[in-house]
Subunit: 202 residues, 4 copies
DNA sequence: TATGAATGAGGATTCATTCAT
DNA sequence: AATGAATGAATCCTCATTCAT
């Protein structure tokens, strides 16, 4: 049971320690003891601050998600509508905060748990929709809505695939290559549209 | 004399039970006890047939991988070289044996463990390369080798992304939609090539 | 439960396999499975022939004891009474059948269990007394009975100590040295007697 | 804050409980559960304090060995060089701390494991050498070095044999008798030496 | 007689969680 | 607020033993 005077500092410490441990040992081997050790505090205190392992993991996942949403927000606000904003949203997925090793591999670990832990599923649903609606909205200025939906979905899938590959240490896919591939996908979709229009106009 | 050949039968039974349990409860909650229960045998027998949990899991993952390779083989052998074969390889990833719920979610569970379990990493490396080389080879008849490599990589990423989304029960992506999206990606890449050539020839 | 048609051959095989396994892995790690494997028969058959692990171990210990008694018998029957017979009894303890590695280390393993397994205790009691009475009897022709008892006990202790040291692989005590030391002890005791007599006669 | 310094206290408690259990049930039946029960703590805590069973047993053996070495030290320091010190070293082996039932039977249990557990072998090697060198050193003032070595070895064997017999509950050898026998052995060896000299001088 | 499949109990170990200090 | 001692449940694994064939 989270106590009233509970400090945000401790929570943040513990979330970061959790991410580190997940990255180092995998979610399976992430025990409260190891998290506490990593954070430099006693094992009992971990339970104390989060009440429960489930709550710690959910909070950690939420932290990842919020961090991604933060990047989306920056992308939306700092760019002109239309293509620049679409590209900014793509780039947001590969921002420094999103592409460090720890984040990427933790994200995958959680993903594998989403189907089995309702608390994580709730969080997950939000983030998937958010990326979709961000992209759809930005693309809508460039093409009809149904096209926008289609391209947004394709881009979302592509980005997930890229994250997945990047998370494999043997994957040999670095961040820059991944980002380029996502933009490349967008290019091809845009060209297809142009081609279509050209065909139609012909 | 007891029934002969029990070993192979039991191993297959246990692998299938393992997949079921992973699908139902997640890899974290996959205990030898639950696997045994699912297979209708005593917990001790699970260890007996696989030596230990690690070997059971590795054997299960290998089973998934082999099954996918089997689909690739069918795709290669049953089609004419060129575009039909490329499409067949794409389809192989979405064949019935690959797209049932159990397979898809088990695959994701293993994926999350690959970085932390060397035995799984070894298996994983093979399957990633295999898809890449199958696609590259098939695409090579249609375009220059460097293009083929690029498109093959993009397709691989796309397919991984599609599997990932499909594995989320909330993903709302069904098999047919996923396959269509992969072919769509191929289309757009082919058209881009044509466009390039057109541009160059202009 | 030993079956009626049970073959002595199997029992002998199993006892020898048991001794080997004890020597190789220690009594702690001596499982029926390993014994069966060593004997080249199925694990179930081990239980079948001895009913019970306890019975197998008791039979094995008894085998060791009988083998030693056999040596004593040879020593008694093949020598003239008096000093030669005493020396022969000493030598019996270091006969080839008693001093091979397997016998020595198995003997120690059982010794450690004697206090905790009544079936072994019964067997043990016999063998200790037997050595004592053999020696006492043989020594009685050389000295008064109370002296004989004393020397016999000292020799028995010496022999046990020698076996103990020899059983340690790091002990650096080989059979010949051990035997020599036992005879040396006898010599010193005999000389002490002589000295006593000399003193008394002085 | 919880009680500090619990670790050392618990470790000592557990070592003593281990000795008790070994004495009562034998090393084979010495489980962490029983040790914990004897110490009045939960089974999990035993592993917690010693990491694993092997370390607990090694620590327990080391405790026995250290206790014996402590007696040797007292013997060396509290006596004049020469014969008194030799006798003191002999007595050290039969001091109260060394001759209680629990110590004696635990010692035998470990002895039987020494050949199969490297961690115990390392400890064992030390203690055997220590007794030998202590005795040899003390005897060197009384006789030539090669004689001293010989007598020391004989005494060591004798002491081991006496411990072995004493450890058997049916052995009927009490501590005082055992000590007397060791001194008796020394006497006979000394007399032999004198006799030799006498013979030579004659 | 022999096999080896199968069981189920038992043991070591890990871990989330609680609690006295 | 913080510690880390303590618990007890859960899990993996081994093994003696049984039993159908």
């Amino acid at each position: 049971m989270p106590k009233k005077g509970m400090e945000a500092i401790r929570q943040q410490q513990l979330i970061e320690a959790t991410l580190q441990v997940i990255h180092d040992q995998g979610l399976q081997a992430t025990t409260l003891g190891r998290v506490g050790q990593r954070a430099g505090i006693s094992p009992g205190l971990v339970s104390h601050y989060f009440g429960d392992k489930g709550h710690l993991l959910a909070a950690t996942y939420l932290y990842l998600v919020r961090s991604l949403e933060q990047e989306y927000r920056k992308a939306r606000h700092g760019t002109a509508a239309g293509l620049p904003r679409v590209r900014a949203i793509i780039d947001a997925n590969f921002a420094a905060s999103q592409s460090d090793e720890v984040t990427v591999s933790s994200w995958l670990s959680f993903y594998a748990q989403v189907n089995h832990v309702p608390a994580l599923a709730r969080i997950q649903r939000v983030v998937t929709r958010r990326l979709g609606s961000n992209l759809t909205h930005a693309l809508s200025t460039l093409m009809p809505r149904d096209h926008a939906l289609h391209v947004a979905e394709g881009l979302g899938v592509m980005i997930d695939g890229l994250w997945l590959r990047a998370s494999l240490r043997t994957g040999g896919l670095d961040v820059d290559a991944a980002r380029a591939m996502a933009h490349d996908y967008l290019d091809s979709q845009l060209q297809m549209l142009t081609g279509d229009r050209y065909d139609q106009s012909a």
